[in-house]
Amino acid sequence: VGELSPPARRRRFEELYTGFYQPITGYVRRRLAADGSEADDVVAEIFVVAWRRLESIPLPPDDRLWLYGVARRITAQSRRTRWRQGRLFDRVAREPVPQGPPTEDPVHDRVRAVVASLRRRDREVLELVFWDRLSHAEIAALLGCSENAVALRLRRAKDRVVKSLVVSSPALPSPNARIQKPMNCASLEVERIVP
């Protein structure tokens, strides 16, 4: 996108803002602690970046992925900053796993708990597919891995969810999904230790 006139710039930003404010807010809130002000600040920063770099944002449909990329980075930086401050003021603090408000459906609560217990990288793919509704290709671009790796992680995550649900609640209806031995997405993938 070349240089935009001020009115065109504003229109373009409004398109992005109205089109993506809600999904980006959802993306951020699902990944940060329940502290709404932190999530709001991160959302604000994402759109500040979009406003400042409007000319470099690709045209639709790639603009969505661009925004998710910024959202992912800034959300991560927010966590990182909190970790750094945590190291100074309380190194024993743990990264929270947001689970959202409790629902009236115990099955959904159980699924959320199982999802939250997944390994971080598996959980991320699962959430991006089912909650953020990104395609495998978009997720691959966002995470910097192949679509095949995304598919493998997703299958591993789903298998683990199914397995956990069946184990934790035999009374649940048997989900219509295959249960396989978990597969390694990448041999070098090692769960990160979080201080």
Partner: protein, 456 residues
Amino acid sequence: VIDIETLIELSNPLRDDVLPTAESPEAQQLFLEITAGSTPWSPNATRPRWVGPTAGTPGAHSHRWRAVAALALAAIVVGVGASALSGVTNPGPMGGSAAPAPSWKLVGAISQATWSESPAAGYMPGEDLTCPTATTCYVEVPRGRAGPWQVEVSTDGGSAWHQSTLPRGVAPWPTTLSCMGASTCVALGQDAAGNVLIKTVDSGETWTSVPVAAQLPSGFQPQAVSCTSATSCVAIFVSDSTVGVAVLTTDGGTTWSRSTLPAPMAPIDVHCFTDGTCIITGRGGSESAQGMGLYSTNGGATWAQATMPTGVGMVASLSCDSAINCLAVTTTAVLGPSRNVVTATTNGGKTWVLTGDNGLPPGAEPFAVACASSAFCWAAGSVSPADDAPQLAGTQPSLLAMSTDGGHTWRVSQLPEALATGTVVAVSCPGPTRCYAMEDLPNNASSAPVLLSYRG
């Protein structure tokens, strides 16, 4: 019967129906804040307009923009070498009361290829910058996006870095690296069996690990380690419930013993001297936010509680000289709004005092300190914006300040212009004429810390 994919979709904790839309008042206000100075958002007159203070007016963005600024964006200085930057200095936005401290120069991005990816995973690389000599530096970094933390070593003053090969299955724990010389360093880590001490005696070429066989209950995680020789070390661990323990070995890790702390404590840092003095800093146990210090005069076998300044929080970033003088960073509201300040001990950790902020600019927030001697200390961090100053992300001035009187007065350093904004996250001084620091630079694209060097 419901399929698993639908079940996961329906379990989304934040479905669209509970999320604010772009038409919500908060979203519209944000839009107007971002586009302040332009025409109103929409011809739709029914939408509320921004009615707060106008952009540029103190207080206009008081809460949100301060928080945004605190996101500490980082960036790579890609393709910009020391030669392009080292000669360019600016007086900085702050400036102490005394003459500026000598300037620093950019060495370069550290292991750019791997570090550039790390912030995307949400972790702060390399806060453990440890330079035992003028040419040898060690850092802990996460390897790539998915890999575990790694140790990288430079033996040429930070120009070239190579990754150490750690024992198979061992993940070093961040911020536990401690060096006793150019070739000998230790760190804490974990393997499948539990906590381990890893050690190199050949400048990081090879590492060995020994289990910390102190019969710690599960859930205790490494915090810090300090060794006075290749065989004598004190390590501290903390549990999920913030119960801290100290363990020591005098035979290189073959046997470990636990020492009893005199009060519940969440320990953060430890430093031991060759005369048997050891110091632990941290905060009180459980939910206590009160800063706390311990000291030992028998190599960590027994501990006594230190006298701390009133009203300080967690004490961390402990740095000591070869005598028993130490500086650390704590937080306090005694000197004004709550912020990071420097605290010091000159008697082996028995008593600590706040050193004050003479010479530091308003809003200075040290994150780390390093002392080559009591007459040569550096504080690193950034300068927070004043309460009434709207500030966009990543525009906080970076901070490097030198003290020659044990931290009581400071001289703010000049930094090359390209480095004057950001956060200096680590500093290490192998001697009074040489220091290294690592800085996160603001940028909206990608990220990697850069190494700065000071030559007195």
